[in-house]
């Protein structure tokens, strides 16, 4: 089989009831578009019969590839594996719980055809609990937008489309799947956002809780750090140590003044505080330098990211995956 134009990537974790309807829905949605496509289903170490049912589907349909994990590694790993094993030019990721609608894929392809590198879904009529799901994610989205500069209404929507050459060059690890657009922003992609349908859960249990908040905040820090290192390595640590140095200087000056007014008796707490903060500033700066060293020795090069999205002069935007010669019309 030649490389398909489109790969639909769906991670499944304990979704034995969903995998078959999901497969059928994808086929029904994509087959009429008349483009060669494949489906990559990632079984994230399910304990139920998800893998068995997936294998049944694969046996029937060569367009289906099942990537079976040894154990549960989480959604980011599942997405990353799906991306690794997909062979299409455009990759579409979606949740395996039927909350996303494969019929939306067409809209994503249309947006991609306009020359976008990354199209993000927005569950604008989200069918979830308000207090435990919608409000935290609203705050998180605002925060992510502020910190990373990628203002997307709904980072948590799994339904996204990527140009394969872009996303395959972006490292995804830990629990980054919520931040794929932010992470991809290292490469400066052309991002578009479209409204998608969102259905209430039909089968199985929701797998998230409120405990994500703390992790989201930390991950955000991580992204900010690595992203800023790709442009100005030392800047981020300099920013961190600036307040420390300032406080240190202030305390030192206050301490010296206090010493003078007290007639030569040195104020230990104030001067001490000043010295501690100043030293911390210096150590932090040293950490930043160490970071630069790590970065230099690592296998990540900023120009690799630039290359993912750049256009040579006079060249049209990256080859659209659809519609090409064989337009469905």
């Amino acid at each position: 089989m030649d490389n398909p134009k489109l790969s639909v990537i769906v991670p499944f974790y304990n979704e034995e009831d969903s995998i078959e309807p999901m497969y059928a829905a994808i086929v029904r949605a994509v087959e009429p578009l008349n483009i060669p496509f494949e489906m990559v289903f990632v079984d994230d170490g399910s304990r139920d019969s998800t893998a068995l049912r997936g294998e049944e589907i694969a046996r029937r349909d060569a367009r289906v590839r099942i990537v079976k994990f040894r154990r549960n590694y989480g959604q980011t790993a599942a997405m990353a594996a799906g991306i690794e094993y997909a062979t299409g030019e455009t990759l579409v990721t979606m949740d395996g719980d039927l909350q996303n609608d494969p019929a939306d894929i067409e809209l994503f392809l249309a947006k991609m055809a306009e020359g976008h590198d990354l199209v993000v879904g927005w569950r604008h009529k989200r069918q979830d609990k308000l207090l435990s799901r919608k409000i935290p994610s609203m705050i998180a989205n605002r925060l992510i937008g502020k910190v990373t500069g990628v203002r997307i209404t709904d980072n948590g929507c799994s339904l996204k489309a990527f140009r394969a050459s872009l996303i395959k060059g972006i490292p995804l690890y830990s629990e980054m799947h919520r931040f794929i657009p932010a992470m991809a922003s290292i490469a400066g992609p052309r991002i578009a956002e479209i409204k998608v349908r969102h259905h209430a859960r039909q089968f199985g249990q929701s797998k998230y809780g409120l405990s994500r908040v703390y992790k989201v905040l930390l991950d955000l820090m991580v992204i900010k750090t690595v992203a800023s290192f790709t442009s100005r390595p030392l800047l981020w640590f300099s920013l961190l140590c600036l307040p420390l140095t300032l406080v240190g200087l202030l305390a030192l000056v206050a301490g010296l003044l206090a010493t003078l007014t007290a007639g030569g008796r040195m104020s230990l707490p104030l001067t001490g505080t000043g010295i501690i903060f100043l030293m911390a500033g210096v150590t932090l700066m040293a950490s930043g330098t160490l970071g630069e060293l790590v970065y230099k020795l690592g296998d990540v090069r900023p120009e690799d990211f630039a290359r993912l999205t750049m256009k040579a002069a006079g060249e049209s935007p990256p080859k659209p995956a659809y519609p090409t010669g064989e337009s469905p019309q």
Binding site: A58, S174, D219, M221, P269, T273, L297
Partner: protein, 370 residues
């Protein structure tokens, strides 16, 4: 077309199948039984497997007497390989060196002293039919109440930290598939935790009760430093298992906690200054507060540095282990039956569920609601 498979399928219900070869690795470091006695006991157990086997003795540091005894055995054409290290490297390293010389599909690790009876080896190898690593667990176990307590505390702590329940990690009698050691690089004192690491790599781990040997039932006094070492080992495994891929989760937790304590104390001091007019210059607690704040920020920065290392090396280390990829290139897609499958499609027919998204006019939109 069969799916390509990364893991040897667990079809060897009877591991005595002709193809299997067993490589036994015996790291010889500290406690030891005389070579001839040890070998005859292990040999009896291995013979009962009825498969070709080899033994690899790794002498961890110079042990001329043991080496001489082993060369006597090799002279009798016994299937023994001896690897001598010039200094003591530790059991994990010895194990990895031994593995380099092993050719079998099944690896059995055995201690250099008789921990269990030789014939119990067959049980472990047989257990590989439904697992990737079989861990020996001495049962019934002869030990003093103090040793039992110590063991319980160790395994309880490990369980608390990793969520995995093992009963006897001190028993290094184990049988495992070759693939495990190909994937997991052991170092330091990690050989004890091989089952924990294997489980984290997605391998199936099982515990098998084995009979303790007479020799092992004699009590051995543990030096006090082995307690601190055990504790440190657990800590390193904890870090390895939980945080190697996300250093900021670990450092961030400690850093934020330290920082918060410092900030609270500072706020208290400032409050005192503003309302009770106690000059900050007279408060030595100010030093502590600022120390905590600074420490917190620095620990946090260490976490960020760790994340940077992960990020710049993420290409080399994968976050996941794929069991297999199932793909039948020859399969012809059957038509999807129209009825009874797609609730999604049915919902799409309902106008209430669809809405319009602005689309560029030149693109086909007609397919959406058909």
């Amino acid at each position: 077309m069969t799916p390509n498979s990364a893991v040897t399928p667990a079809s060897t219900a009877a591991p005595a199948a002709a193809a299997t070869r067993v490589s036994v690795i015996v790291p010889v470091g500290g406690r030891q039984t005389p070579a001839a006695e040890l070998y005859s006991e292990y040999k009896a157990g291995l013979e009962s497997l009825d498969v070709p086997y080899e033994l690899i003795f790794v002498l961890d540091g110079p042990q001329p007497k043991y080496e001489a005894a082993l060369s006597q055995l090799t002279a009798q054409a016994e299937p023994i390989t001896v690897v001598s290290l010039t200094r003591y490297f530790g059991e994990a390293t010895a194990l990895m060196i031994g593995f380099e010389h092993a050719s079998g599909d099944v690896i059995v690790t055995l201690p250099a002293y008789l921990q269990v009876e030789g014939r119990e080896i067959a049980k472990l190898v047989a257990a590989l039919g439904s697992a990737d690593i079989a861990v020996g667990c001495r049962e019934p176990r002869a030990s003093s109440w103090f040793q039992t307590l110590r063991r319980r505390a160790f395994h309880g702590l490990l369980r608390f930290v990793t969520g995995l329940h093992f009963r006897d990690l001190g028993c290094t009698v184990r049988a495992l598939r070759r693939q495990i050691l190909e994937e997991i690089r052991l170092y330091g004192d990690q050989e004890r935790f091989l089952p924990v690491l294997a489980e984290r790599h997605g391998f199936r781990v099982t515990e098998v009760a084995v009979r303790q040997s007479k020799y092992d039932r004699r009590q051995e006094a543990y030096p006090a430093r082995s307690y601190t070492r055990g504790f440190l080992d657990i800590f390193s495994v904890f870090f390895l298992v939980r945080f190697t891929k996300r250093p900021l989760r670990f450092f961030g937790m400690i850093g934020v906690a330290t920082l918060s304590v410092g900030v609270l104390e500072l706020l208290y001091l400032v409050f005192d200054r503003l309302y009770f007019r106690i000059p900050l210059a007279d408060r030595p607690a100010l030093l502590l507060a600022s120390l905590l704040i600074v420490l917190g920020v620095q620990i946090f920065a260490l976490g960020l540095l760790g994340e940077l290392i992960i990020f710049t090396h993420a290409g080399g280390s994968k976050d996941y282990q794929v069991d297999r990829v199932i793909h039948y290139p020859g399969a012809v897609p059957a038509a999807i039956p129209a009825a009874g499958i797609s609730e999604t499609a049915a919902r799409l027919q309902n106008p209430q569920n669809t809405f319009n998204v602005a689309l560029p006019p030149q693109l086909p939109t007609a397919k959406l609601t058909t």
